[in-house]
């Protein structure tokens, strides 16, 4: 069983939590409509409305949408699937191309062990059956960035089959109303990536970069068990976390390491499935959710207006926020699949079937890989909940943001403050600052930049830990701590202690001084005292505020309240 997981936001900010009525039924509505009106909240736990949809007309059943996914994850490996070329993002064009990658005649594929291991580990993490024997096939089509005229893939017998991926979505407005959904993983296959074509329309020419040609991909086929963009995006996000935890793919969508195609159809419950369309080129989870929801509504509208759905490939235009038919590549392709004759069947072993005396370099032992599996995200979340007593949704946020969990754990390691306090500071203050600071820049880049490159983060885990320690031993007040944090964020190289000293933020440690300040405040504001005595309970807060102001924020409000109450009653 998977731990509950909080879905991340589809549309507005990634940091926000969204709640969408992601049931299996869809109603009529504008395809461009209200599925994406996320609003940014002050707190990281922002709210989003349900999909606002029109009520169905009486007597007609609602529409049900069916969504399946085909996901390509680039394998994190030093070299390509069948050649020794290095794998590196953003290298100069055509600088990482071996003779095989350029399909020079006479070159042959040699399977990369690391890629096979990555596929097995991914398969194990998704509870797949690992086929002890799998085969490679050639898939033929002519395209300028496919030098051999075929792609080597696993069409007949893939390396892993019949797995499942669990993810959690909210069904109601309360965080506790999360349910776990499961999408079946039909298969995982190893295949080659293609090169890249750059079309220069001005000079009407196409430039080819083969750096990507031949990089190992895991193609994961997720069965059509999802029913809206949010579910699909959440499932993809969970998969992304799993791949990253395994280290089998960096799964960075922006860099194309994770690419998603969605198959979408709508039908009335109880009736056969509708004709499906395929939406391609979805290079962010946000667009994935948007594109799917748009496409669902488009299909519903089309059918409601008496139209029909064509079995076609569409692409998502992120500027217009809609899907458009792709230029048809000369009708339907027949890929003329054929066994790859240059690669013998891929045989995998377990500890029981391992041939005796086999060269460990030449065989792969599934059991050995299973032992090496790292902690998977769902287990990490369970552990966070149990170990630190945090809410499940908080554990979700910690995992969903790149580097945030590591940041949190580093703070925890160095501070004496309560884990709950740390959670709150990391999720509200730290994350809130990140958000506010970087409105114009995409969050992912910011997060990567700030968190992955340690020193570049304005507030280091140690600084926050030190700050929380000061707070914990009541050296500063909570508001003063916020002030210190702001100073830290400016990144002037000062430690929290230095800032506290410079700004004179340390709590008034002298009880006599506080007594005096309280007394003089009471004397200076007889009207407020009167107000309080007449029975307005809120008047005490005003007095506390006045005292705090007089202490320049250096007194603890609870302590002030205590002194004031004592003085007033005496």
């Amino acid at each position: 069983m998977a731990a509950p997981m909080l879905r991340w936001c589809c549309s507005g900010r990634r940091f926000a939590f969204a709640r969408v009525g992601c049931g299996s039924c869809h109603r009529r509505g504008s395809p461009t409509g209200s599925t994406s009106n996320g609003k940014r909240g002050q707190s990281s736990v922002a709210q989003q409305p349900h999909i606002t949809a029109q009520k169905p007309r009486k007597g007609e059943p609602e529409w049900a949408a069916v969504v399946g996914l085909e996901i390509h994850a680039q394998i994190a490996s030093n070299s390509k699937l069948f050649s020794g070329s290095q794998v590196c993002f953003a290298a100069p064009p055509n600088s990482l191309v071996s003779f095989f990658d350029a399909s020079l005649p006479g070159t042959l594929p040699v399977l990369n062990r690391r890629c096979v291991e990555a596929a097995v580990m991914t398969g194990l993490a998704l509870d797949c059956h690992i086929n002890r024997k799998s085969l490679f096939d050639r898939k033929h089509y002519f395209y300028a960035d496919l030098p051999a005229g075929y792609q080597i893939t696993q069409q007949r017998l893939p390396i892993a089959v019949n797995g499942s991926l669990a993810y959690s979505v909210y069904v109601g407005r309360k965080p506790s109303q999360m349910v776990t959904r499961t999408v079946r993983v039909k298969q995982i296959q190893l295949e080659q990536d293609s090169g890249k074509s750059l079309h220069d329309d001005l000079r009407s020419q196409t430039l080819i970069d083969l750096n990507r040609a031949g990089i190992g991909l895991l193609e994961l086929v997720l069965e059509p068990d999802m029913s809206c963009g949010e579910e699909a995006a959440t499932a993809v996000r969970e998969l992304q976390l799993i791949l990253q935890a395994l280290g089998t793919s960096q799964a960075n969508m922006a860099e194309g390491q994770l690419r998603v195609d969605a198959n979408i159809s709508v039908h009335r419950p109880g009736e056969p499935l509708g004709i499906r369309t395929e939406v391609k080129n979805l290079n962010s989870a946000r667009f994935l959710a948007k594109a799917i929801d748009y496409e669902i509504q488009r299909q519903i509208n089309e059918l409601e207006n008496g139209g029909e759905i064509l079995n076609e490939t569409r692409s998502f235009d992120f500027k217009l926020g809609c899907t458009v038919p792709m230029r048809d590549k000369e009708g339907k392709q027949d890929y003329r699949f054929m066994p790859e004759p240059n690669l013998p069947p891929l045989l995998l072993y377990d500890s029981g079937s391992l041939p005796s005396g086999a060269d460990p370099q030449q065989v792969i032992n599934i059991d050995q890989l299973r032992e090496r599996l790292p902690e998977l995200p769902r287990v990490t979340r369970q552990r966070l909940v149990q170990q630190y007593g945090m809410l499940p949704e908080h554990s979700c946020v910690l995992l969903n943001e790149v580097g945030l969990l590591e940041f949190f754990q580093n703070v925890i390691k160095e501070t004496r403050a309560e884990p709950k306090k740390v959670t709150s500071w990391v999720l509200n203050t730290f994350l809130g600052f990140l958000k506010q600071q970087n409105l114009a820049v995409s969050e992912r880049e910011v997060m990567c930049f700030l968190l992955s490159f340690g020193g570049a983060s304005p507030v280091t885990p140690s600084a926050l830990a030190e700050l929380l320690d000061l707070l914990d031993r009541k050296a500063i007040s909570a508001p003063a701590a916020k002030q210190v944090f702001e100073e830290l964020w400016r990144n002037e190289g000062k430690t929290p202690a230095q800032i506290v000293a410079e700004k004179k933020l340390e709590l008034l440690q002298d009880p006599e001084a506080l007594e005096q300040l309280c007394r003089s405040t009471l004397e200076a504001h007889p009207d407020v005292v009167m107000d309080l005595k007449r029975g307005n309970p809120r008047a005490i807060n005003k007095l506390i505020g006045l005292v705090r102001k007089a202490t320049l924020g250096r007194a603890d409000p609870t302590a002030i309240k205590e002194v004031l109450e004592r003085q007033l009653s005496s």
């Binding site: 003779f99 005649p105 006479g106 196409t206 003329r336």
Partner: protein, 523 residues
């Protein structure tokens, strides 16, 4: 003269690698009209000879092949030397790397004389269908053949009636047969090494699939291609195989087990041998002369005490059609890379990428290649795949099992004809199209490729016309040594005559009929 004996002569300094190289180069020039070579790598060879000479002078040669002139079929990649596959598509293509087999020969100090002619992309059985024109069989100009022709009172112009070499490794077979090199690499997909070997009176070895690396061999049918070895005697074939055999990390279909170097024993007793004679190979098209030599060979084994037994390979008759489907399918796939983008020919049209592909491929491939691509793509279509490709694969399995059954029944080696008849004149040969010819000519050789077995064609005798006829021995998978041992015994028994080309190259008889060399090395 055996390679091993030349090697001894080189070691003893009776001849230098440079002398040997120059004599071969001069023979290549004299036999240029045979059209055996597409590219003569004179400079490379002379430089290699110079290096070899230095090694010999220092007394540490690299091995038996050091200083030995060799030739390589022009479908093996050679670094820095044009590799054309006799096709417009690859005219001007200079590979940046050596095929593993080429590299292994060079590592042994062999001298690369040049790249030999073939049918375009090795598709053919005559060496007549390449863009550089047909290869002429050296036996057309032999004393043996000419005398017979005079006797048979043919008065027509001799030059117009030259014979084909067979193919597709005809250039390599002719190069070895005409003494322009000591050994040559061919490739063998359905008989392309054994067929021209038989027609040119040389030994043609197709090793077991997986024993020799295909890396760098421009493929015809990956699942059947094997680098072939053409030599003038069985021992030489064994010497070259010893160098080439073994695992290649660049070819995942090569065997993992290490291959030990070997020398062939001289068999004196064949009484423990069991020779199988497949009855299905006795076809109506088989010429009576070949048939009688075949039975003569069987009798020879029997008379020397071997057990000779008739065996059955019941699925043989399906081999041609099965091969056609599998071959064209893989061809369609393998040829997909020739699109004019990365290398090779590119048309002038730049209307669109698709138009460029179409024109490039139309201009680059001949009709034979285009025809096979079309058929192959038809067989691979989704609607046809089960009915053709899958069925052909099943038949292939049956054909392979035929051999397994025969060998399990106790047969050590099969003895069959290599070709239906001796070499025919070019004018005769081109009366049929390439497809018909390939289907007919591969009949005895093709099934071996489908089963991955080793086979060798050994010249047995001259026909009544004075032309060589070879017989084929087929061995168990990876029992190449045993196969060659039997072939060597047979070779010794039949004493096939040396081709007499004196008239042709009157003044260069020295190298190969070099009495001085022979006498010294025999001491």
């Amino acid at each position: 003269m055996q390679v091993i004996m030349v090697s001894v002569a080189l070691k003893q300094g009776q001849i230098t690698p440079t002398e040997l190289c120059q004599r071969c180069l001069s023979l290549i020039k004299k036999t240029k009209f045979l059209n055996a070579y597409i590219t003569v790598s004179e400079e490379v060879a002379l430089k290699q000879a110079e290096e070899s000479e230095k090694r010999y002078k220092k007394g540490h040669s690299l091995g038996d092949l050091d200083g030995i002139p060799i030739a390589v079929k022009d479908n093996f990649s050679t670094s820095g030397i044009e590799t054309t596959c006799a096709s417009n598509m690859l005219k001007g293509y200079v590979p940046p790397y050596n095929a593993t087999v080429v590299q292994k020969l060079l590592d042994q100090g062999a001298l690369l004389m040049g790249k030999t002619n073939l049918d375009e992309f090795a598709m053919g059985s005559g060496s007549t269908d390449g863009i550089f024109g047909p290869v002429k069989n050296p036996w057309s100009y032999s004393k043996q053949y000419r005398e017979k022709r005079k006797q048979n009172s043919h008065s027509e112009n001799e030059d117009s009636n030259w014979l084909i070499t067979g193919g597709s490794s005809g250039g390599s077979a002719a190069a070895v047969s005409a003494f322009t090199c000591f050994a040559a690499l061919g490739s063998d997909t359905g008989g392309s090494t054994r067929n021209p070997a038989a027609h040119c009176g040389v030994v043609g070895l197709k090793p077991s699939y997986g024993l020799v690396s295909r890396h760098g061999l421009i493929p015809l049918v990956n699942s059947m291609d094997v680098p072939g070895i053409l030599t003038r005697c069985v021992d030489d074939a064994a010497t070259v195989l010893g160098v080439l055999a073994g695992h290649d990390p660049k070819d995942s279909t090569t065997i993992q087990d290490p291959v030990k170097p070997f020398t062939l024993p001289s068999l004196t007793d064949v009484s423990k041998l069991c020779i199988g004679i497949p009855k299905e190979y006795l076809t109506p098209e088989l010429s009576s002369e070949v048939q009688s030599l075949w039975s003569k060979a069987a009798n020879l084994f029997e008379s020397e005490g071997a057990k000779v037994t008739e065996v059955s390979l019941p699925h043989t008759s399906y081999s041609i059609v099965c091969y056609h489907v599998l071959c064209t399918s893989e061809v369609a796939s393998n040829m997909a890379r020739f699109d004019g983008l990365e290398y090779g020919h590119r048309c002038d049209s730049d209307v669109s990428t698709e138009a460029m592909y179409a024109a490039t491929r139309r201009e680059g491939f001949n009709d034979v290649v285009r025809g096979r691509i079309l058929s192959g793509n038809f067989f691979l279509l989704k609607e046809n795949y089960e009915n053709y490709f899958v069925k052909a694969q099943k038949v292939r399995r049956l054909i392979a099992n035929d051999f397994v059954n025969v060998f399990n029944s106790g047969v050590d080696v099969l003895l069959t004809p290599t070709t239906l008849s001796e070499a025919v004149p070019y004018t005769e040969f081109i009366k049929e199209d390439n497809r018909t010819r390939s289907a007919q000519d591969d009949i005895f050789t093709q099934a071996v490729n489908m089963a991955g077995l080793p086979a060798v064609s050994v010249p047995m005798a001259l026909s009544s016309q004075g032309l060589p006829i070879g017989l084929q021995f087929i061995g168990r998978a990876f029992c190449d040594q045993q196969l060659l041992t039997v072939a060597k015994w047979f070779e010794k028994q039949v004493q096939f005559p040396v081709i007499q080309l004196q008239e042709l190259m009157d003044d260069c008889s020295s190298v190969f009929e070099n009495e001085k060399l022979a006498s010294v090395s025999l001491k």
